[in-house]
Amino acid sequence: MNPPGLSAGAAGTSPPAIPHLGIDPFAISFFDDPYPAHQQMREAAPVVYLDRWNVYGVARYAEVYAVLNDPLTFCSSRGVGLSDFAKETPWRPPSLILEADPPAHTRTRAVLSKVLSPAVMKRLRDGFMAAAEAKVDELVARGSFDAIPDLAEAYPLSVFPDALGLQPEGREHLIPYASLVFNAFGPPNELRQQAIERSAPHQAYVTAQCQRDNLTPGGFGACIHAFSDSGEITPAEAPLLVRSLLSAGLDTTVYGIGAAVYCLARFPDQWARLRADPALARNAFEEAVRFESPVQTFFRTTTRDVELGGVVIPEGEKVLMFLGAANRDPRRWERPDSYDITRKVSGHVGFGSGIHMCVGQLVARLEGEAVLTALARKVGAITMSDEPKRRYNNTLRGLESLPVTFTPA
């Protein structure tokens, strides 16, 4: 499976060679410190080839942005993980939105866009802010705790499943299910294999929860089903669209909030700026999404021979986009390795870009803003009380444990 960029053409007309790199972007050692490898890929060429998994890779901002914004050439319907749905049976029925192309995607995307619109966020805002204040009050009273389970997980769990309209029973399956989904985008390594082997109870829970009868009226889930009454989607499609919120709506925000708290704990100067002006909370969260890029990678599959970055990628090839590397590309960002809560961060690809850009991004931002606003108002100092521990996932970057002490403001 040699990319044609390496084959010799006529003298003077041969395209530049595509560098072959030995990097395994799904290895534990990579997850421990991806930044040197990100830099190596960015500096090697606009397009690289990763021999470990026989995929093309793009790590510069310009090429990642280009791939994200040409969804007909770089399609999603053949899977946004390594597995090519044209060659392998997907581990679960494909998503009707994430793993779909226009025109099918256009219809389902429109429904979720309406369910998660700015107008809907306005109605949720006060409740989400109050829940964050209550959570931070509780943690300030405790003093020392683990910011991952006790804040980054506990806060989204206190607001999102209710907003979705889930039954109280069985919610312990939510984070393991999401972890499974994001591990499954990776290659057949131990993380993916183990996740799928243990998936049956989580899949059973999610399948049941997506049914109309199990969803509380007024929640996101019931709103999705209501679109099957008006004909925008079919009754059979509605549960699979609810599944998208269960897959992508919780764990991602856990990692996002965890990233923000980790940034504020590590960079006291930025924490001081946030305390001085809590109105920066929303941008401080957004910058944490750029800086840590909780969703590190997604794949696309080429639908035709396509020129990208001066080389040709043949039809039917997997292209791995390094969102985290693009978000720290010095070609696009000044001081890319600095966490700066006043940065103009618009244009980062932490939520993707183009037609597949995270449809739940407004929920994520609302949660992030709520938590950081409450922290800025109520916490004087955030001190790390022990070494943080990393959590390993083929797609998501974040922590397993972040022991901290909150001093009251």
Binding site: S117, A119, K122, S346, G347, H348, S353, Q361, R365
Partner: protein
């Protein structure tokens, strides 16, 4: 290049030479005009590039699409008849002299 003027809530104005084919949102970001946040980067998701178009210009713009209309219902500042999302306004020579006002908040 097309001249566009942004007026801030404190009535301070900034005039930029915007690249034709770009959006008014991108022109603001490119030229460092504050107050256009554009959280979603121009993907018509977020409604944080809200502007009030000067009355002389509202009828010269492409009409509001259904998607933009729905997003405008979620703007942080009050929606008015001349509210638009600046990511949906394409810069073109016919808009030379366009004036838009930036609301006091975007989120």
């Amino acid at each position: 290049m097309t001249t566009i003027t942004f007026i801030h809530p404190d009535n301070r104005s900034e005039t930029v030479e915007a690249e034709d084919g770009a959006t008014v949102m991108l022109a603001a970001l490119t030229h460092g005009v504050d107050g256009i946040v554009a959280e979603c980067g121009g993907n018509a998701v977020c409604a944080t590039c809200h502007v009030y178009v000067d009355d002389a210009w509202t009828s010269k713009l492409e009409p509001v699409s259904d998607d933009e209309d729905a997003l405008l219902d979620g703007t942080a500042a009050e929606r008015r008849p001349n509210s638009r999302l600046s990511c949906q306004i394409k810069v073109q020579p016919a808009l030379a002299g366009l004036v838009v006002r930036i609301p006091d908040r975007q989120s």
